[in-house]
């Protein structure tokens, strides 16, 4: 199962991706799946199992994000 971390700004999404990569969390920038948000832009896709870890890394760095949603992506 995958999860996506949603941000209110693509600036934060890129910042988050860099920090997560640095912490060796597998992640990828993807377009925001339309059913999750009506917003344009991108989000960070991770393994659903890494959700908690990712969230604590982002919180520690004060990188604001909206939420983490599990989703049946490929």
């Amino acid at each position: 199962m995958k999860a996506v971390i949603l941000f209110h700004s693509t600036n934060h999404a890129i910042w988050a991706e860099n920090e997560l990569k640095e912490s060796k969390i597998l992640c990828k920038m993807i377009s925001v799946p339309r059913h999750l948000s009506s917003d344009c832009g991108y989000c960070v896709q991770i393994d659903a199992d890494d959700g908690e870890k990712a969230s604590s890394i982002l919180n520690a760095k004060n990188i604001e994000f909206d939420n983490i949603e599990n989703y049946e992506g490929e």
Partner: protein, 395 residues
């Protein structure tokens, strides 16, 4: 080879207006973006848009490191220092506010302030610098009233090159709950700046001067602990975020970054900012180099050129900007001859700073100005001194 394409055979001493030449890595970075990436950052989800977004993020990080702020999102990109100063000044001041500024300001500060004063929105106090262009922090303190909202100071003079004691002024602002806005157009990349330790609330920088980015780059940096919601945006529009709402986002940097950024320029700014920060000796080395050139020029000119009058002090720390005149020859004639006959580029006149020239007694004629850059050498100064000597002697 790009290098072969960079103009040679001229002596460029107008680095205070914009730096030239740029390091080769800056040109390569612009070309790389223009040929390999090209996309709009933060708008679409495709690979190239993300790559463009990565560049923009990296410049934010690099600028944040330069000014020692923690949150890269507090770096807002604008098209130049003027735009950043306008956002800060017009975005902060409200009806009835009192603002303190100095007689060394550039028009990019004094004009928006004057405009607000003319509209009777604010009252303005202009603190007078001494003949060397230095502001006494005590005078700032004395000018503070219960209505003072902000103090706006030009860190390094674009006329004289002198550097203001911003840490002391900032301390006074902090103690009095006044917002300290600093114009770092001439000092960024030359004088180490630490937003927190210098007690700065907001600073404006030019990307195209001491940071060696292309023209059309600059920005505003907001201190980590400053409530950015106190600043009203100048521009509203598309940000690539909250697209379902017609409300302007209130978070950084989106609140102030409507419209597509100058990514070609920012690609170059990233390379320039990294270049100066990684240079052996770093920013301090650049500062020392410029001071050495400044002292060398003044000494050689005073020894060799009859009728040379210098307005910049060689005893004061400087960002490598020097104001001078040749007696009895108009500054415009000298600049024209330097350009036409000697291929030496410099600036003459008032340098967008009428108050500064009034301060040093050179208004309205102005002065000649040399602004040294990281690539200038003592040999070039020798050539310039020789040329000025010939002009002064009427040859």
């Amino acid at each position: 080879m790009l290098k072969d394409k960079i103009k040679s055979g001229v002596i460029y001493l107008d680095n205070a207006a914009t730096s030239f030449p740029k390091p080769e890595c800056v040109i390569d970075a612009v070309v790389n973006y223009m040929t390999q990436i090209g996309a709009n950052p933060g708008r679409s989800g495709h690979k190239l848009s993300i790559e463009a977004g990565q560049i923009v993020f990296k410049v934010r990080e690099s600028i944040a490191a330069l000014f020692k702020i923690k949150n890269p999102m507090n770096v807002i990109f604008t098209s130049n220092a003027t735009e950043a100063l306008n956002i800060a000044i017009k975005g902060i001041m409200q009806e009835g506010d009192h603002v303190i500024t100095t007689s060394m300001e550039h028009n990019s500060t004094i004009r928006p302030l004057h405009e607000l004063e003319k509209e009777a929105l604010i009252s303005l106090a202009i603190v007078q610098a001494d003949r060397n262009g230095i502001i006494d922090p005590k005078k700032i303190k004395e000018a503070i009233t219960v209505r003072t909202k902000s103090v706006v100071v030009n860190h390094a003079s674009n006329v004289l090159g002198c550097i203001q004691p911003i840490r002391e002024i900032g301390k006074i602002c902090k103690e009095n709950g006044v917002i300290f806005i600093v114009d770092c157009a001439q000092s960024a990349g030359v004088v180490p700046i630490d937003i927190n330790r210098d007690n700065i609330g907001i600073l404006a920088f030019a990307g195209h001067k001491g940071l060696y980015g292309p023209t059309g780059t600059g920005g505003m940096v907001i201190a980590d602990d400053f409530d950015h919601k106190k600043i009203k945006p100048l521009k509203y529009g598309g940000t690539g975020s909250l697209s379902d709402k017609i409300e302007q986002p209130d978070f950084l940097p989106d609140r102030f970054e409507s419209g597509t950024l100058n990514v070609a320029g920012l690609s170059g700014l990233l390379a320039g900012s990294q270049y100066i920060q990684k240079k052996p000796g770093g920013i301090k080395g650049i500062y020392l180099h410029k001071n050495e050139l400044q002292k060398y020029f003044i000494k050689q000119a005073e020894m060799q050129i009859p009728g040379f009058t210098c307005y910049s002090s060689s005893n004061l720390p400087s960002v490598g900007v020097i104001a001078f005149r040749l007696n009895n020859i108009s500054v415009s004639d000298v600049a024209q001859i330097l350009s036409d006959k000697y291929e030496i580029m410099c600036r003459q006149g008032l340098h967008c700073s009428p108050l500064a020239h009034q301060t040093i007694g050179t208004f309205p004629e102005g002065t000649l100005r040399f602004g040294f850059g990281i690539f200038n050498t003592k040999e070039e100064i020798d050539t310039a001194v020789h040329a000025l000597k010939s002009i002064s002697e009427g040859n």
